[in-house]
Amino acid sequence: MRNCALSGLIFAAAALLAPATSVAGEPVWEEIKPAIFGDRAIHRSNPANIVLTTPYRSEDDREVPVAVNARFNDGRTVRAVTIVIDENPMPVSVVFRFDQPRNSIAVATRMRFNGPSPIRTIVEASDGKLYMSEGYVKTSGLGACASPPVNNPKEALASLGEMELTHPGAGTSRGQNISSLKQTARLAIRHPNLTGLQMDQITLQHIPARYISNIEVRQGEERLFTIESGIALSENPEIEFDYSLNGSGTLSVYARDTDGTEFRHDFPIGTGS
């Protein structure tokens, strides 16, 4: 169904970069920025070499691949990465907070775009400074947040919270191998991520929101990062992230949805999964 939508995004050298929007005339961002970041300064300079990768035109508004790469070369590390989709009813789409000091991060996921919109990523450095990079995605106008779920609700409930963790590219010449410290993992969680904006064709009322709101990933005892997420994460969300092996041999994932339902899974790593 989706060819390559997410796979290898982090590796992709020839990424499609969305053109930067003009700084002036961003009324929606001006409106929501104070609610998210108060009066903190947001710099448009790019000492972190932030690259925000999105297609300029989405193939499927419900699953738009989005990747963020950032690297500080001045000794600072990445504390957090926020992704905002201006025109979505819930503009703050996802926030990654990194527990381990890392000068570079690479993350990717698939997101819902409710309509054509600027998308921006704000990277917080270890010294608290904020840096932003932005792009734009033209959508087909589906109104993805209101699009009905693809999967049958009974099936969705039966598989709720099932997880899979793979290391894309492992075993290939371009990919990683066990002896390489830096790994890229793809976490897939079965969840309908109901937005609350979808109309139920049977009851003729809106399906209540129920979506994954929190994720934590640990490597052994060390927490790698936490995620706060909203309705912009696509149905059956997939998240790619990079990390450095610490020898513990296990990645542990915890997830929680807005109903308070918790999901946990441990994945052994280094066994060629």
């Binding site: 025109e87 009813p89 703050v92 809106h206 209540p208 929101a209």
Partner: protein, 189 residues
């Protein structure tokens, strides 16, 4: 292809363009017998049986006459009740034809009985119970919801129903004024 036959090739190319035609015209979309239940943002028909289809120019003339009830049916989902604390929620501003009333969600293929009654009640109130009062229904361009809602108004017995398929897209394209509008609240259980 023969290089010396430039003129012939261009003529053939022109013929191909003429045959293939441009984008699908409204006449390509047949009017269904029932309401439209999905793919609401797709090309719409050119007719509404029992109603009058109007262009932007005609809608503007009707608007200037001032005797017609203008109804916007753009869908709007309510803010979900169970959002985590601190979640930022932003409702997009709606700019409507001045003087119109925004009754969201009455253009879906099937309505919940409470929603159907809410639509009936608002139309009744706004026309002061006069089914002969002209009503014009719109939304966005290429959206079946305004067609559905206009069809519904006809079924309720309104005698003079106008369907304006180009909606606010067509209206603003011609530079006509719009004003910010809040939706009527759906207050039924």
């Amino acid at each position: 292809m023969h290089g010396s036959r430039i003129v012939g090739f261009l003529a053939t190319a022109a013929l191909c363009l003429a045959i293939s035609g441009g984008p699908a015209s409204a006449e390509d979309v047949a009017e269904p017998s029932d309401y439209k239940h999905d793919n609401y943002r797709s090309p719409v028909p050119a007719t509404l049986s029992g109603g009058t289809v109007v262009s932007t120019e005609q809608a503007h003339e009707i608007w200037q006459r001032g005797d017609t009830l203008f109804i916007d049916v753009l869908p709007l989902a309510p803010k979900p009740a169970n959002l985590p604390e601190g979640t930022i929620w932003r409702q997009k501003k709606r700019e409507d034809i001045p003087g119109s009333v925004w009754l969201p969600n009455v253009g879906y293929g099937r309505l919940h009985p409470a929603m159907d009654q809410w639509f009936r009640d608002h139309l009744e109130r706004l026309t002061a119970g006069d089914r002969s009062k002209p009503v014009l229904i719109y939304c966005l361009i290429d959206c079946w919801m305004s067609w559905n809602a206009a069809k519904r108004a006809l079924e309720y017995g309104y005698a003079e129903v106008y369907w304006y398929p180009d909606g606010t897209d067509g209206w603003t394209f011609e530079g006509h004024p719009v004003e910010e509008r809040s939706p009527e609240v759906f207050d039924r259980p």
